[in-house]
Symmetry: C2
Subunit: 235 residues, 2 copies
Amino acid sequence: MHEIEALTFDVFGTVVDWRASVAREAETMLAPKGYALDWGAFADGWRARYVPAMAQVSDGSRPFVILDVLHRENLVDLLKETKVEGLSEAEIDALNLAWHRLDPWPDVLEGMAQLRRRFILASLSNGNVRLMVDMARRAGLAWDAILGAEVARAYKPSPEAYDSAARMLGLAPAQCLMVAAHPTDLAAAAQRGFRTAYVHRPLERGPDREPKRPDVKAFDHHAEDFIDLARQLGA
Amino acid sequence: MHEIEALTFDVFGTVVDWRASVAREAETMLAPKGYALDWGAFADGWRARYVPAMAQVSDGSRPFVILDVLHRENLVDLLKETKVEGLSEAEIDALNLAWHRLDPWPDVLEGMAQLRRRFILASLSNGNVRLMVDMARRAGLAWDAILGAEVARAYKPSPEAYDSAARMLGLAPAQCLMVAAHPTDLAAAAQRGFRTAYVHRPLERGPDREPKRPDVKAFDHHAEDFIDLARQLGA
């Protein structure tokens, strides 16, 4: 049995609260222009376009582009749907950077500090490198390495996204623990030989939309938050 | 004129004292086995094989392999030359990790902390990701991102090593400042549009082998160490 040496993290939803943060950023820019939208629904609409956009890259129907590019295309589409008009290109660019300014869940900084004493911590996100750098600098996240889609040139749940992370960490997949709030991500990591830790994030989709907990035998660890995970891993 | 947003660092020699550190690691492993070599010369011999080994990748005569692989091949060759015999494969692997345990120059931690308040700091080294992660964790180096050869699948001074770093940072090359103790690295970065900062490291090659300073007009900045560089950049 290999010892775990590195933790690889999903980020959107697992480390940071994308919904409340994107809602806040959209409101900050658009409310002064007179728009009174349901800002949580605006964030949901943006996020809903995320998986289909990445699928076009993963199925080969378009070449790899970074998530900032997909986010911007999706934003233009969403602005049309929500009838937000008259933004300049520079304003659309600025709003697109909402995804660079996401807040971590309350347990994250303390939990990561505990985990990092014992394990290598790497992001394994579909976000691009600069997005992750901006988010980490703003929030104080201390990654040992930023891996994931841009470095792999493949989006999760494609096998190469996981394979390249283990390879760059110089580890067998079984020495890597994938940490995510999303069963599909964990299942894809497990397929590539990673160990898995589910972290429950009841508020990811907003209040009163708590996700169903996976079966307790589905993954190697099931944690309430990163501090609970650190305790379970003896970190 | 673009503002500098990120500093990209050469690491071996610029951030860390590879020679004294490798000499120490080699002595620690081999002296107890009865070998009494000139350990500085041992480090020099290992390092001397580095550029020719990378050149085979850069000129296309072999596919990309990470520096850990090149270092190990070079070590086997060096052990033969220095008549060090009877090491197990595991011992050779362990000695190869000497390059993961290099000490920073005395000004580095303070200088990087100052620079990081204002700029994104990324490694742009020929070392592989895991090597950089191990070095950073041991020495306390706080990189915002680990870029360079493995991520680019190209060794400096190949153009793609620099181009991919700027691209992943989401910046124009002119927004990136290459920091290095080596004129060839800086000249190659400048060719790709980077700005350049020479840092003088008089002890890189050992005592009494101080490198010649480049002409004061050769690069955008000429610094005595990272604290001096931070002062020059107003960080």
